[in-house]
Symmetry: C2
Subunit: 367 residues, 2 copies
DNA sequence: TTGAAAGCGCTAACAG
DNA sequence: CTGTTAGCGCTTTCAA
């Protein structure tokens, strides 16, 4: 087979080949290609042009192997809590996309792993088999314990989620407690009093949003009613069923704080099918501000999570751990996007995405 | 540092260590761990227990390097057509999730790459640097030419998208032309005549759906009206603007065929904001059947793309190419899910996902 | 400025 | 059944 201008062919041409062709040693080729100042600039240019001519590209696998690094970051989506074994939430795609962008910019590869196994060692396995330099976990799922355990001696780990007291790893996430409180305060401000909470409290982030819900209620002198706590899991179907149950068990409510936009949409549908009008009868606030939130009917009032900076921060923190640092956890600022579903009352907007009223939190801290 | 029960610590323990500890040679350890029948079962057990004791796991990077394979499949999302540089469509997450599952089942790692570059070599680069055994491309974007060029000498490539005449690579995708036709026929069946088409025809899949749109119209003796072709790009914002433009330019229409559910939702919102009621004034059919389609108001009639089997087929085909085979392209059966947005007329359903009427296509062919 | 040689951690002939 | 040996393709001392 002719080796000239080889491309996309499993690259039979190696560094030795280039060396032979250029009449120099492997070492020199290696240096030249790495732009080492040690090599004569003419030799370098010669080598480079020969390499180009023959479509030679450094074999990254071999390079990384020699360097004892992988230049790869594993992004793990734990699904232990997710009965449907399915990432159904657009929020995660946004975040994943942002992580992918940042990682690419930093020259790292992204190894995507879905972990639905029950093995206690699920995380340790990813880490131990040396397929990556570090790990980004999207969500804590119900695995706080396991994660913390692993984090005790594996430091190259960053997690999207809630910052829990005493944890051994760095998290990046929104200010869930404040976010929850802002949502509920807004509903209270619109005169609502019986505010249902929809979410799976087994997840740390949701537990904090729940705490925010309770905070805001107590501020207003309202005792949180356990009957209004609905254990809606992520996933539209489960949330839909939970909402139906709430409606049918006769507990009165005039507002819903849904801990994700997907849950909010499922809830609204469950209500509208039963003749309950949003926002006239019931106000709804969601969480995430996924793209579709602005396009839903009614447009969703929601607590925005900024996936773009979230992903960037996750990567920054992870790269810091790779340098041996111990980055502080990041709590992203929280913002309430006010749209129709809470009864904003104004007439429809022309540009749903931009016209929403925003209420910023004071929190833009990095703790 | 004590090496006992080492875990999550960058694994300083190697196969040689285990060999020394067990008093055998590296080769024997290698064989034992691979369950080779060549090794005495007692020796094997001894070795395995020692390995376990010391938390030893085979270094996959070294293993793969030696075997000259990567056991990694790159999943590339080309974004050349996507001005927003953002995967905003939940459909892709579903597909990605399904691919991740299938790949995991087959023991392959998934390397995720977003390609937004303009370099003509974007695909060749992924392929040439030997970071993966094969490539799955999610969507053809506007890169048919480039893809086909690469595919001419790189065979380990499978693409989600449209099957184009004479192409050199294997595709998996839904029957876009039939899907488009089914959607439009259904609208015609409900008495609609002025059926707008929303989509970016630069994408091969969308071009086929457009052909289906025209097919169905002509069958009904209607000449496709160019004024009703709206170049809506993926992404809710762009689609929203396109729809506004259509409404405002005064072209009459009584139905919309949107080439994705996200586009459909944005379109519905644009209409409802302007006092146009769906489905009373205008019927809408979408494409994809993303989870949220059932939860939108009105629930969306849509052409389902089965991401679960789609992902599985993509992986099957790719593994076939890895074995040196040349798998045939796959066209998945198309199914119309009838819900409210086209004016189905029945009262609301209790279980939106399951209660929808289905119209199956005869096409389940594998060509 | 360049080359020779060693070796990353593993597997697979080959030879006992 | 087991050990010895020779690399995979690359980087990096060390010596010239």
């Amino acid at each position: 087979m002719n080796k000239t201008a080889q491309t996309c062919t499993g690259q039979a041409v190696t560094m030795s080949d280039v060396a032979r062709l250029a009449g120099v040693s492997k070492s020199t080729v290696s240096r030249a290609l790495a732009d080492s100042p040690l090599v004569n600039s003419q030799t370098r240019e010669l080598i480079k042009s020969i390499a180009r001519q023959h479509g030679y590209k450094v074999n990254l696998k071999a390079r990384n192997f020699r360097l004892r690094q992988t230049h790869t970051i594993a992004v793990v989506i734990p699904l232990a809590h997710e009965a449907e074994q399915h990432i159904s939430d657009p929020f995660f795609l946004d975040l994943l996309g942002s992580i992918a962008d940042s990682l690419t910019d930093s020259g790292y590869d992204l190894l995507l792993t879905k972990e639905a196994t029950d093995r206690a060692s699920w995380l340790a396995d990813v880490v131990d088999t040396q397929r990556c330099d570090g790990v980004i976990l999207i969500g804590q799922s119900s695995q706080q314990e396991t994660i913390d355990q692993v984090a005790k001696d594996f430091r190259k780990l960053v997690v999207w989620g809630a910052q829990l007291p005493g944890q051994h790893y760095c998290t990046v996430g929104s200010d869930n407690r404040l976010g929850g409180a802002m949502a509920v305060r807004h509903l209270l401000g619109r005169g609502r009093r019986r505010i249902a909470f929809l979410g799976n409290k087994a997840l740390p982030e949701i537990a904090l949003r729940h705490a925010g819900w309770a905070d805001a209620l107590r501020e207003a002198g309202i005792r949180p009613d356990p009957l209004l706590e609905v254990p809606a899991h992520f996933g539209a179907n489960a949330a839909y069923r939970s909402m139906v149950a709430l409606i049918e068990n006769g507990t009165g409510f005039d507002a819903v704080f849904a801990t994700s936009d997907v849950i909010a949409m499922a809830a609204i549908r469950a209500m509208s099918e039963r003749g309950i009008t949003v926002p006239d009868d019931v106000s709804v606030v969601g969480y995430d501000d996924i793209t579709m939130a602005a396009y839903y009917t009614p447009a969703l009032t929601t607590v925005r999570q900024d996936t773009a900076t979230g992903g960037r921060r996750l990567v920054e923190c992870l790269l810091a751990t790779l340098r041996g640092e111990t980055p502080a956890s990041v709590i992203l600022p929280t913002e309430l996007i006010v749209r129709r579903s809470c009864g904003a009352g104004e007439s429809y907007q022309n540009q749903p995405t931009t016209s929403a009223a925003r209420i910023n939190s004071p929190s833009d801290c990095q703790r």
